[in-house]
Every structure is written in structure tokens, then in C-alpha cells.
Symmetry: D2
């Protein structure tokens, strides 16, 4: 069954909130995301009453999320399957920023504003997107920088373990704000189900981004997105897994960066052992020689590292 979904509210949290839709395995949903700053395809801000703050609390308003989508039959211990069938950019602009207290060249701790050093000046960059040519253009330092567009969903995840509600800025074992270039059209995502129904939410589409998102902000824009949902019963995975034509992948999110790296690679070894007939030592040996990795982000409250294993060595 196919659902066209027009959001009536946006959340700033991953967690078991009031479902936007109740779906069945096999259903598809098409909807539109707003950008990380809460502006839509026309550059208009989302009305305040649609921004779902939790009761009387002040909410950090970054990465408004569409959802959550409740999937019937998704029980704790299953894997929620999400195929990204389409990410179609629908705005001819994207913005990026350098921010005073965010990004990989500030301190590592949350809330660690620099006392002794003057913070960075805020600078806004407006990129022009040519949706036909699939390029983004920025003119800076007297140069014309034209980059290929490679859109992906920056924030996508389920309700966290232990019924926590996590801010839409944080990635973790539930996925979330991984800011990782691999969650793009044609890729299938597998999430652990920690809460019955899964509660998938997403948003924060990036038109392009380098490894690490080092200044803290990618090419932030809007898109039409179509997802297909499924459930793998009893598929006990611990971290998000991805799959495309070339690779199987695992995304680990934690601090320090080395913990994210280890999580991703250890979960990859488990996958090779459980599904592909490798002995554990052999899986480690082959992954050591043919594995590659992408760093998603080094700026969010947890960092994200993706371990990639080429499918040609799986048969």
C-alpha cells in the first residue's frame, strides 16, 4: 500500500512519540522534508505550531523530523527494513554555515564553548543547485567551485533503546543524525527495533557533503523522499546496517571517534560470521585487507563511522 504523507507536525526528537502513520510491511510512503533550519522548498519557515516541542520545554530547533512511522508487526528483536527508493531534491538552493561553537575545530565536549579563545565568526554560504545538471555552485575566494550533487538523508532512525527520547542532533544505536553520505537513493537500511513499531523518523537532507562534515554544516536543502518499509523477524542486530549494489555496511556512532570505528567494524565481523559463513578470525583477516571506511560526521554529539565490505567477496 502506498501513502502520500503531508506532515502536519515536525519533531526534534527520535523516540516513541505519537505516530504520524501506522504502516504494514510492504508499504511505501512518499513525503517531503524541510531543511535542517526548518525552511521548506519555497524557503518559507515551518509555522511554529507545527514544530512539536515537548510540553513546556525549550527545544533545540535543528533537524525537524518527519514521522514517526509505526510499522505493525515490528517487535523488539526484529530488524526494521527501510529502502530509500527516491531522494529528489526540489529546491535550487542549499545553505551551509561556519558556526561559532559547532564543528570539528571547536572543542570536543558538548557545551564546551571556548572561554580563552575568541569563537569563530558565523559565516553563511549559499550554494546554487542546478537540479538538471546535478551540480552545486559556490563562488568564494575568487573561485568558481562546482561540485556534483550526491543527495542523502542526514538524519534517519528509530526509537532508541530503553525508551529514551533523543534529540534529532544525536546519532546512536538507533541511527539518527549520522550525517553519513551512504544513506542515499538505492540503499536499503536495517535498524534494530528497540520499541514495538520501530517509530522511524527522518529529515535533514544534504545535497552533498565531504567526509566528516568538518565545519558542522553540509549543503542543507529539501527533497521529496519515498521509502519502502519491511520487517525481518528475529533478526537481532545491534547497530544500523546498510546495503547497496556494491557493499554491505555498518554505521557505528559514539565518542570517542575510535569507539565508533570499533563498533562499526566489530558489528561487521558479526555480520560476516552470522550471515556469510566466515569464521570469526577469517572475517577479521579479510575485512582487514579489503574493508574500507567512511567517516560520517565528527561534529555531532556522537561521531559516526561506516565500515564497508565489498559484496564481491561474499559469495
Amino acid at each position: 500500500m502506498h501513502h502520500e504523507y503531508k506532515p502536519s507536525k515536525y519533531y526534534f526528537t527520535f523516540g516513541p512519540c505519537e505516530p504520524a502513520l501506522r504502516l504494514r510491511a510492504g508499504d511505501t510512503v512518499e513525503t517531503a522534508t524541510v531543511d535542517a533550519g526548518g525552511q521548506d522548498r519555497y524557503g518559507n519557515p515551518v509555522p511554529d505550531e507545527m514544530l512539536q516541542s515537548s510540553r513546556e520545554t525549550e527545544y533545540y530547533k535543528a533537524n525537524p523530523l518527519v514521522g514517526p512511522f509505526y510499522v505493525e508487526g515490528a517487535e523488539v528483536g526484529d530488524a526494521l527494513v527501510v529502502e530509500i527508493e527516491k531522494i529528489s531534491l526540489n529546491r535550487e538552493t542549499a545553505y551551509s554555515k561556519i558556526l561559532p561553537n559547532f564543528g570539528s575545530f571547536t572543542e570536543e565536549g558538548p557545551g564546551m564553548r571556548l572561554l580563552f579563545n575568541k569563537p569563530l565568526d558565523e559565516v553563511r554560504y549559499d550554494w546554487s543547485l542546478d537540479l538538471a545538471k546535478k551540480t552545486g555552485l559556490l563562488i568564494v575566494s575568487g573561485k568558481r567551485i562546482e561540485v556534483p550533487l550526491d543527495p542523502f538523508i542526514g538524519s534517519i532512525g528509530v526509537a532508541p533503546r530503553f525508551g529514551r527520547h533523543e534529540t534529532s542532533l544525536t546519532p546512536g544505536e538507533y541511527g539518527g543524525n549520522m550525517d553519513c553520505v551512504e544513506t542515499k537513493e538505492g540503499t536499503t537500511l536495517y535498524f534494530p527495533v528497540f520499541v514495538r513499531g520501530g517509530y522511524l523518523s527522518f529529515g535533514d537532507v544534504h545535497a552533498a557533503q565531504g567526509d566528516g562534515e568538518i565545519c558542522g554544516v553540509a549543503l542543507e536543502t529539501t527533497a521529496d523522499v519515498r521509502l519502502k518499509f519491511g520487517v525481518l523477524k528475529g533478526k537481532g542486530i545491534e547497530w544500523p546496517r546498510f546495503e547497496n549494489a556494491e557493499h554491505i555496511m555498518v554505521a557505528g556512532s559514539a565518542r570517542p571517534l575510535m569507539a565508533a570505528f570499533k563498533i562499526a567494524h566489530l558489528e561487521m565481523v558479526r555480520w560476516l560470521v552470522s550471515d556469510y559463513g566466515f569464521e570469526a578470525n577469517d572475517a577479521l583477516q579479510v575485512l582487514s585487507q579489503v574493508g574500507t571506511c567512511r567517516i560520517g560526521n565528527v561534529v555531532d554529539p556522537n561521531y559516526t563511522v561506516v565500515s564497508k565490505f565489498p559484496k564481491k567477496y561474499l559469495s
Copy 2:
């Protein structure tokens, strides 16, 4: 006004849940905590229906919390004041454990179970507490280890920033499971108010603990606790602060450990500048020469470091 409070339910989350009581500045509350494993002063488990799991989710059942206490007049931007007037141990036993996948000698990442190494064997240690002599006794390796009791509240905090709901296992900018020996009788705590009312919760009393809680479990027991509440209007603090007769203190909680260290010391410099007439450079210089620090825990999802500054240098 004084309140005797007998808990009817226990939460496993810091966050703006249904208040246990609504208090005014100046009120005191006396209540009893259960141990980290959910057993009361008689060694009886808390009935399941009193364990407040969030809807249909599986909840991690460690550190059941009493509260939350809503304090009238505590607004975002204020500091919530909590004086620990009494921690009176009320059980003659405490337990500790070595656990297969928890503690500072396992890997750092959440969920990073060791694949290639056999996990530790679980071992339980039962300490006898002599409440009159104020000592704890353990007989191991043919030795009689008798330690002085020094009880403190392991987990105490307010609703987190951004309206998040955090598991009772995690410390952060809201306090929480800091597992830090300084939150003891006679100490006053100051928490940032992130959500109107503050929503203070606490539990997890330890009869004694070393720095870092390195095996992951202290002398876990139960106590009668009396707290006095207050509000400092407009006192914009960013992390928990403590004060006793000898020291002012700041608790930073983050990963990696160095981030927790920097947070605690940077917030201490801010405090010395804002309240005690130091120039920033001079505050850094004097803190460098007279400051001491305690490591609360290096085992929880965030680590906790406490910066201590002797009050004799404040006049």
C-alpha cells in the same frame, strides 16, 4: 514545608515525567531509596507495577529513581538548589559485582561486547555493613577488608536539556548517574534548570566507592534521604556545581574522559570569574596550582570528572 514521601513508582529515566510532588523553594523532602538492582531495605524487590516503564518499551532496569520533584518557580535559566541534609544507610548489606560487559576493563563503546575475547565471568560480592561503626566488611582472598563507609547519592539530576528523556544510567549536563563520591551529606548541589520545574530525581545510594568505580559497581545499598530545595533566579549555569565546607566543585560528564575533564575545569574558571572576582587568566593560573580533581566514574555511558577549588582562596 516538610514532606514525607513514600514512592508509589520508580522511574528509569531523567526527564519531565509526571511529578511525584510539587514543591516550593524552602521545602524539604524525606524519602527512601532502593538499591541499584531494585531491592529495598529488607532485600525485597520492588513490585513490577511500581517500575515505571514507558508504555510498551523494554526498559533497562538499573538505578530506579525516586521523583521527579517539580519545584514551583524554577524557570529555564535558573539554578535548582538541592541541599543533601541526610543520607542515612538503613540496610546491613551492600552488594557489588564484576560483570561480563560493563566496567572500565571492557571496551569503551556502548554495546561493544568483546567478540574475540571471552567476557569476564560475573562475580557477586556481598559486603556486610556495620551501621554503628560505619564500616563495611568483605572477606576475600583470605583477607579481611574493612573499609570506612562514606555514603553518597550515585544518581541525582534534573530533566535534561532539549526535553530529552535520558536513561538513569547516563550522566550529563543535568547531573544524573555521576557516581561521584562528592554528592554526600552536607553538600549543596546546584543544577541548571532546563525544563520549567526542574524535575529532580535521584536514587542509587552507594555506601562507599573508589575513584572511577572501575569495576562498574560500588557498594550498592539503600538509605533514608532528606533533601532541601531552593531556586537561584537567573543563575545561568551550564553544568552541575557542588559546594561543601571546604570546596566549590563542578562536575563535567562526557566522553572521552578528557572532554569531561575540560568541561569541569572550564566551568570552574567561569565560576571563579563570575562570582569571585578573578580575571580569567588569573583564575586559570590559580586553579592550575591549587585545584584538585576526583574522577567520579569511567564506566557509565558518559564519564564524570569533578574539579575542586579550595574555598580558602576565595575570600
Copy 3:
């Protein structure tokens, strides 16, 4: 001038030892490396008397190095230029290992053997190399794993800052055991000169390796190598830089991993500013959107991260 160099001794240290040859800018050297375990192209161990231990000390015998090569005219503050003109594998076998106390799934600290967990069992893997087809073959877990060969020099560097002598296992500001797949044929390397003459040493050729060298050992083998030397006067660089047809690159080596990441990317911003006409903010913005990165190793005493910037955006 071209030099055919047949080593008479091998060092286990980067540092200003007795030069193997004194070269001039423009000179080329062709020589042969032995493998990380000290065996030559015929599988014979290097005679003990050729292994250069420092006086009466016990020396850790991994990664025997050829050199050091003293380059006339290379002064402190210059950059030493090393073009890798050829890496020609010359043995039909490579070995790898899983080791009890080395690799990314052991603890992070140097010398941190696991006390509570049983260490990994040592396992040796022998790969067959088809030098004509340029493939390596391993049969494990009932599978035939055939990988493309992509040889590179694992350890290459100059004498460290402050006249230190560093073990051949450690990478740093002087290059060294970066174990990074980018130091391959066709790439030009730029090293800071910390000691007059530069004192370049190298060895430890790998026939192939994945990102991070996660088990701690790549496809260890031997090769004929030809290097061309040059000097850039007054080129004050702080970390090794690489360049090939597609990218300019910087290698940062440090612990924790995030420090290596920041070093590489910050030095890349400096390069974009000093040589390519970018304003600092603009360099950070463009690098954030088009930069990629490779993780060299996460197993050596320092970890190595390589920041890569596409040359097409430099014009």
C-alpha cells in the same frame, strides 16, 4: 645521479643514524626492501649482524628500514621531496597475522595487555601473490578470496623533531609507520626537514591493505623500490603531505584518533590558504563539502588519518 643501493644494515628506528648514502637533490635511488618480519625476497631472514640494534639495548624487531638517506642542502625548515617512481613486488607470497596483543580489537594503550580477558590466539595467513595478474589469493572459511594488489610503502619518514629517535613502529610528524594506502607508486611525498639532511628511511611494503589495518598486519611482502629526491627550500610544512594526479593529501598521526583527524584537516586548510589562494573560512567550507579521508592505521602507537582534497577544485 642514480644510485643502486644494496643495504648492508637495517635500522629499527627513524632518526639521525649513520647515513646509508649522501644524495643530492635530483638523485634517484633504487633498492630492495625486506618484509616487516625481516625476511627477504627469497624468504630468508636478514642476518642478525645486519640488524642495527643500538648498542646494548634490546630492540623491537619489526619493520626493518632501509636508509637513512642524507640529502645535501636539506636544512631545517625545508621540505624533503620524495617521488615514489616504482614499487615492484618481487615475491610470490605475503603473510598476515592475527596477534594476541596487537590490533584494533585489543586495548588502546601501549603495553595494555588484557589481564581479565584471554588474549586472541595467534593465527598466520599466507597469501599467494600472482605478480602478473596483480592479485592476491587466500582460501579461508571454504572461500576463495582473490583481491587486487595495490602495493604501497608502509613505513617511510625522516628524522623526527627535536632529534628524537623513534621506533620503526610509530608514525608521527616525521611520517614513519603510517601504514596508509596512499604512499604508492606515482605519488610524491613532502616531509618537513627537522634535522639537516633529512635522513629518509623506509621499508615495510604492503601488497594490499584495507582502511585502518584493523587486525594489525597487512599483506606483508618485499619489493624493488625507486625513489627520486628533491628539496623545496623554506617550505615550512608541519606534517607529511602527498600529491598524486587526483588529490593533494595530508597525513596526521596521533592519538586519540580524533587528534589525527584534526591535524590532517587543519594542515590541509593551511595548505589551501598558503598555496592555493583560499581564504581560511572558504577553505574550511569547501573542504567540508568535497574532502574525503582515508584512515591509514588504527593499530600503531599513533593512528594515521589522511585528508584528501581533489585537485580539480584548485585551479
Copy 4:
């Protein structure tokens, strides 16, 4: 046998350099140290020709070291015993500094100067020492800060493992620049012998210092120091150990900070098991409840953490 030693040269490296004296077990040495900036008890700089730079290299001139002292009979695998019999301050001034690119509020990486943030301004602080009252005085921010003196040796260590030569700024498995308040008069130090003779060097006396040495510079001054040397044959230790009347201690030095913490505590568990009759699990349990820890420094190329175990639990 007692030796009065007047240094004729100072080294900036730990490593097997030309010995200052050859000693036997049981010998004592009395000598005088200069301060971290190379000035003697009269405030005069050490003449350049006495500063031992290695051949033609530029040397980083911090922490000039007295020594190295070669101890006959100290073989690889033994422990070198060093009793600090006396640290007698002999100058009425100590200096400290805030530095642009050093200290815990700059970045973590070696050489990671901030590009985007203006560095700290250099500030010098001159403390007056009252050697009779044993106090130090600084007048800043309109306050009179008078602190008790608690002198210790900032840098003391043997030749590193693998015959490396390490800069006098770096602590490690050989001790070195631990900047840890526990290496004071009345304490006995045990170092692993990595090179025959041990080659003990020391310097950099601090009149007082807080935990972490957070601004990067303590109360830097000069002292008369008397050490007594011994050898424990076949005492295979891996990291420096200390002992005073109250505690046995282990100093771990590494990055990240958590690695230093783990090293110190794991080696402490090993010590409790090998010498004091604890089972490993029991040692971990008791250390978890009664252990304390001091952070030596968080500013040097490796950080130092000291695990402390009270001797009253050893009988």
C-alpha cells in the same frame, strides 16, 4: 658510597646517552637541578655549551635533565629503585606561565595550533617562595594567594623501551615528564629497566602544582636533590611504581587520558596479584572500592594518571 655531582651538561632527552656517573646499588647522589626554563638557583641561564643538543639538530629546550646515571648490575628485566631522600628548594622564586599553544585548553594534538581561533596571550606569573614558612605567594586580581609548598620532581625516568631517545617533555613507560605530585621526598620509585644500566635522568622540580597542571606550567624552580639507587633483580614491571608510607601507586602515561587511566589501574591489579596474594577478581573488586587516583598532567605529549592503593589493606 655517596656522590656529590655537579652537572657539566644537561640533556633534553631520556635515553641511553653518555653516563654522568656510574653507580652501584646502594649509592646515593646529591646534585642540583635547574628550572624547566634552564635557569639555576641564582636565576642565571645555563651556558649554551652545557646544553646537550644532539649533533646538528635543533633541540626543544624545555626541562634540562641531570644525568643519566648508569647503575651497575641493572639488567633488562630488573627494576631500578630510586629513593627520593631529599628535595630541598633553594631559590626564593618560581615562575609559571599561560602559553599560546600549550596547556589543556588548547587542542589535544601535538603541533595542533589553532588556526581559526586566536591563541591565548602569553602571561608570566612570578611566585615568591618563603622557604622557611614553606609557602608560595602570588598577588593577582587584587587577591593575596598564599599556598603551601609541596615540592616534587616533575621529570624523572630511565632510558625508554627499544632504545628510543625521548624528549624530556614526554612521559611514558620509562617515567619521564609525568608532572605528578607524588614523586616527592620520602617516596620510593621503581622503574622497569629497558636498557642495561637503567640510565636514570631527572630535573624540572615544581614547588607546588594542582592536579592536571592544567595551564601547562607549575611553580617552576630549582632544588638540591638527593637520591639513593638500588636494583631489584628479575622484578619484571611494565610501568613506574611508587611507594610511600600510606600508598602503593602506579603511574600510567598515554593518550587518550582513558588509556593512561586503564594502564595505571591494570598494572595496579597485576601488582596486587603478584606481590600481595589477591586473586585477580578480588583485587579488582577491592581496588574499585578503596582506590583513589591523581591526575598528573593533561598537557604533555602523553597524559599521566596515578592509581593509589592504601597500604592498610595489604597486610
